[in-house]
Symmetry: C2
Subunit: 292 residues, 2 copies
């Protein structure tokens, strides 16, 4: 099976490497072409454009940053749509708009090219170790065809529903993180202002209804006011904007996600966009006079 | 060791029963005295007032609803302060204001009576099974003296710090729950509006950074729009008001806790105060047109 992989970023490069390690024949392309070199040395072929990468491929994987980037790669000049063969499958593993996803799937379908949306969670560590969680939207039969390919990159691979369902599920994931982390951040701020021994507080509240991955893994960042990656504020903010757009279009009301997106926008504008998303505690700490 | 137990509510009654089962001599009192009968039949003595219950006791446990109730039991006419001996320990297991706690501890100290604040989490199920999490504020030496008594009612027993620290920790617990549940509720609402298969969505998002006790145990309520107990909205709202007062006095800023307290106040005024606290999803569902 011939695979094209477009996007050699923090996520895409190790994901493509895992496909090579699994024995697939992979052709890579990246806008900044120097990023292709490491993969080329690991056995990948290189292509000058998305169209050329897609030309001989059975499965064309896209892993870039945002909705306009995916649209450029698929619909743009020298894009996948111009190069891919009828019968090929485009698998978009970026996190982008569900509505834009459905529009691109329709454009590809006119040339008998299938498309799955397959955003991931699990971060760069999951990408390197091949343990990503992959949430898939698109036709079930197409999903079954590419499932072994996804299995080389992820551990929990769930077909959710039709085109866009994977992206909406990713949006749900990011919304839940927004609320969970804010709850933890507010709790930590109250405890710090009361001068409590926060190690003991964490011990006392971690066993019950307040328990979460964020409490176990990110409360420490919030207490230290230090936010190493992790997952970037600027990417979470982008994902929340997708969630809020999707919510607006469907009539869903998400007050906490909206609040967190605004706090994150403030962090980004002040130069904190590359901190871990637990940095939303930075804003509450400042508002509470803890960083003075 | 002689124990007085004041407050035979949903929590207090089974907690007192566990003390009897552990072999302690227990004298019970409740404002509505009929509630003492079941405990009396299980071997407890009955007392007509908090003062009389406290008279012969080494440890005086209070488990009532709110700050004014504890103040009435301890400081009021025929209250604990009028009956307790010097050297006794008052253990307040209600969830109340940390500031009021410190004031009562000071009043008791004038009569050489020690006080611990020891609020619990784990619900009526934890109270019955003796598996409560108990968060304790007060002097360490006093804590060590009554720790075996607490051990008959709870599993995780943590001494956090000085007077009020247990109550502040409980406030932190309730704040974290507010944020976590709101994140889950917003995620569920977006998914419902998108007509996703929510079982598959839960499967996809439960293994990563969105994971929480609330997601695992309360998302089902939110999807079914049915909120069996659990923990009552009206009690959580009371706890959040304590948290917000404490925050206001210390300068901590808690925007999501404030939002959730307001949503819960709305639920209570409409007759939903006895639903489980996951009913905050009811408000978002309604705002999103899902309950029409």
């Amino acid at each position: 099976m011939q695979i094209a992989f477009i996007g050699m970023g923090t996520m895409g490069a190790p994901m493509a490497a895992n496909l090579l390690n699994a024995g697939y024949s992979v052709t890579v392309h990246n806008r900044n072409r120097e990023r292709e070199i490491a993969l080329s040395e690991a056995g990948a072929m290189r292509a000058a454009t998305p169209a050329k990468a897609a030309a001989a491929a059975d499965v064309i994987i896209v892993c870039v940053s945002d909705t306009p980037d995916v649209e450029a790669v698929i619909l743009g000049e020298n894009g996948v749509l111009q190069g891919a063969r009828a019968g090929a499958v485009v698998v978009d593993m970026s996190t982008i708009s569900p509505a834009a996803t459905r529009a691109m799937a329709a454009a590809l379908a006119e040339k008998d090219i299938d498309m799955l949306d397959a955003p991931v969670s699990g971060g760069s560590e999951g990408a390197q170790q091949g343990t990503l969680s992959i949430m898939v939207g698109g036709e079930a039969a197409v999903f079954e065809r590419v499932k072994p390919v996804l299995g080389a990159m992820g551990k929990t691979i769930t077909h959710i529903g039709p085109s866009g369902a994977g992206q909406t599920t990713k949006a749900i994931n990011q919304i839940i993180i927004a609320g969970t982390y804010m709850g933890v951040a507010e709790g930590m701020v109250l405890g710090l202002k009361a001068n409590l021994d926060m190690e003991k507080v964490l011990q006392a509240v971690s066993g019950g209804a307040a328990a979460s991955w964020g409490l176990s893994n990110r409360a420490g960042n919030m207490l230290n006011n230090s936010y190493p990656l992790g997952f970037r504020v600027k990417l979470h903010a982008k994902d929340l904007r997708i969630a809020l757009d999707t919510a607006r279009n469907s009539g869903a009301v998400l007050p906490v996600a909206a609040l967190v997106e605004q706090l994150e926008a403030g962090l980004i504008s002040r130069g904190f966009g590359d901190e871990d998303v637990s940095a939303m505690a930075r804003v509450l700490r400042e508002a509470s006079g803890l960083n003075e």
